[in-house]
């Protein structure tokens, strides 16, 4: 059993289309998301500004997981741990007197990247189910580290006295402003991740996913490339965690519980493993369903569980693969 066998079915090539057409949908989506707070407050739905902001942040984390899992074949069951490192960096630094959001967020990325390098360096010695389990073990260790930090609330979590300051005349306490900043950051990092996937680095990563032995024989530093991808994904997850902590003004170890890591994997697979928009799409669908089900029933886990079982049985390639079916029927 190798890590490659988990994800060996690579998505079919997208049909060649003019470059601008590929950018049309994302730009339209970006525009729609940008005007959303104005529409929402005009309709009196201000609550949903915060909700969509959270979806954007989780989509970012899911996209980073899709980068290593879908394109790199590394099924990591501990991604929420790196989000937690990012989130707690915000708490610790704010508590120590740092006020600038940019400093705090940057530090969150750096620390999460460091944690991911350490975890990846050991975990990547193993493969397949062992890799899944050892990443889980490290995430559990991180979880218990933060549970035991009683100075930062331990189990109960920690409420930030105030949000970090954005500077540049931006008011972080103004919900739409924070939303726009988050949207801009998420769009930027998503675009950048997409570029990384299309780069030589991304191609080498996909090559390792499909056949690590061959890539090694071709002279690629397989271990280092995988470690670099793992670190990068960890840094992005750290940023997501920091943005989540900033927006919610609250952090608790629950956000890095292993079921959160599993939920991130679920999002990626439901959206479409190894697909350009798989992570964000899955995050949006899952969180929207969760929110909608919570309105109607206390037992909202059950329908989600059934949906998950049905998806794995009948739509294993995720929602983004539906686009292929449409493209095929259009031909």
């Amino acid at each position: 059993m190798s890590a490659a066998s988990l994800t060996s079915s690579s998505p079919p090539q997208r049909p060649a289309a003019p470059r601008w057409r590929g950018a049309l949908l994302p730009l339209a989506l970006l525009a729609a998301l940008a005007v959303f707070p104005l529409v929402a407050s005009a309709l009196g739905l201000d609550f949903y500004i915060g909700f969509v902001r959270r979806v954007l942040v989780v989509a970012l984390a899911a996209a980073s997981l899709n980068f290593i899992m879908g394109f790199g074949g590394m099924v990591a069951l501990g991604h929420a741990g790196f989000m937690g490192v990012g989130a707690y960096t915000v708490v610790v630094l704010s508590d120590a007197g740092a006020t600038s959001a940019w400093v705090v967020w940057g530090a969150a990325m750096v620390l999460a990247a460091l944690a991911a390098t350490l975890v990846g360096a050991i975990s990547l010695r193993t493969q397949g189910v062992y890799f899944i389990m050892i990443t889980l073990a490290f995430a559990q260790m991180l979880y218990f580290v933060f549970v035991s930090l009683r100075s930062y609330g331990g189990d109960d979590g920690y409420t930030l006295p105030m949000r970090p300051v954005l500077g540049l005349g931006l008011d972080a306490m103004h919900e739409p402003t924070l939303y726009w900043v988050v949207l801009a950051l998420v769009a930027l990092v998503l675009w950048w991740l997409d570029r990384a996937t299309a780069s030589r680095f991304g191609a080498a990563l996909a090559g390792i996913r499909d056949n690590a032995t061959r890539m090694r024989a071709l002279g690629y530093p397989v271990y280092l490339l995988q470690l670099a991808a793992f670190t990068l994904a960890g840094a992005v997850a750290g940023l997501a965690g920091a943005l989540l902590a900033t927006g919610n003004s609250f952090v608790s170890p629950a956000m890095m519980h292993w079921t959160q890591s599993a939920t991130l994997i679920v999002m990626v697979v439901i959206g479409g493993l190894g697909r350009r928009w798989g992570g964000p799409l899955g995050a949006a669908v899952w969180m929207a369903l969760e929110e909608a089900l919570k309105l109607h029933t206390d037992h909202w886990h059950m329908p989600l569980g059934l949906l998950l079982i049905a998806t794995t049985l009948y739509a294993p390639r995720g929602l983004a693969a539906l686009a292929d079916l449409r493209a095929r029927s259009a031909q």
């Binding site: 059993m1 549970v147 009683r150 292993w258 998950l308 294993p316």
Partner: protein
């Protein structure tokens, strides 16, 4: 340090380790033979604990409670095997992890619907509530002794079944090379169905026995699942012997870590730091053990595949 206290903690650790083994055995057999990763195994443990607690309160008999719990869980497992697990053979591990994670979500909500969200009382059987004087100066809870004995007994029976019976031979053949076993005429699927149900029975037994020692609540399946997974990964996936050794190792490391690491830290470090670090070391000891083992032997101690 008091030797009697150490001995008592060793017994506690062995008891916990044996319960972990009951859970890990089913998990590792299913994985070793059918190559199926079943995250919902912990949910079977939870069902066993809930049913046992309920039947015990209603009927007043602990033995009846254990038997009914095993029977109900076996029925649930058979249903799960027929409706879902069968379709996951030959799928990749990721699909198995996801589908069985879905089962966890469904099972937790189902239990919440039947028993409500708050924990359920699982009483210690009255005739086992007192301590037993093992030797002078060591009174030990008799219920824990029974759990320990039951664990040893079941582990022994399982050892005989797997290593010294015809069924066990088929099981081992299926685990070490499934294709070859099928070519030689073993109906691996039928063996698997039996193994899956046997695993469920062991998980239910562990749930029924652990009920009075821990909180019977929604989510207990997930919190025991992780140590059980740690056990099979340390032992080497697919190896029952590995699971046994690793379960005792994890049980001892975890219990000793909880009992003595905080004491050691308190002796060596300033009290404030020790108060923060103590519980952390206790929680993390098991995972550190796993990371260390995998760093030296990436396929576990007794890998059946290597």
């Amino acid at each position: 340090m008091n030797p009697i206290l150490v001995f008592e903690q060793l017994l506690n650790g062995a008891g916990y380790g044996l319960m972990l083994f009951l859970i890990a055995a089913g998990l590792t057999l299913v994985f070793g033979i059918m190559d199926v990763m079943n995250l919902s195994h912990g949910s079977l443990f939870m069902v066993g604990a809930y049913v046992a607690a309920t039947v015990h309160v209603q009927s007043g008999s602990f033995a009846v409670a254990v038997l009914v719990a095993v029977a109900v869980t076996v029925a649930v497992a058979a249903l799960l095997e027929v409706t879902l697990m069968r379709r996951l053979y030959g799928r990749d591990h990721l699909a198995q992890v996801l589908a069985t994670f879905g089962v966890i979500l469904v099972a937790d909500d189902a239990v919440k619907m039947v028993w409500g969200p708050s924990p359920v009382m699982a009483p210690t059987p009255a005739w086992l509530s007192g301590p037993v004087e093992l030797f002078a100066g060591l009174p030990y809870p008799s219920y824990r002794l029974v759990v320990l004995g039951a664990g040893v007994l079941v582990a022994g029976l399982l050892y005989l079944l797997v290593n010294h019976s015809r069924v066990g031979m088929l099981v081992r053949a299926g685990a070490s090379d499934r294709w070859m076993a099928e070519l030689m005429g073993v109906r691996v699927r039928r063996v698997f169905c039996g193994i899956f149900v046997l695993g469920a029975a062991l998980a239910a037994l562990a749930g029924a026995l652990m009920g009075p020692l821990m909180a019977v609540q929604v989510g207990m399946g997930e919190s025991i699942l992780i140590p059980a997974l740690v056990v099979i990964v340390i032992g080497g996936i697919g190896s029952v012997r590995g699971a046994f050794v690793a379960a005792l190792l994890v049980g001892l490391v975890d219990t000793i870590g909880r009992a003595f690491l905080p004491l050691l830290l308190r002796a060596a470090l300033p009290p404030a730091v020790a108060a923060d670090l103590g519980p952390l070391c206790a929680e993390v000891a098991m995972y550190a053990l796993m990371a260390a083992v995998l760093s030296f032997r990436p396929a576990g101690l007794f890998s059946a595949k290597a």
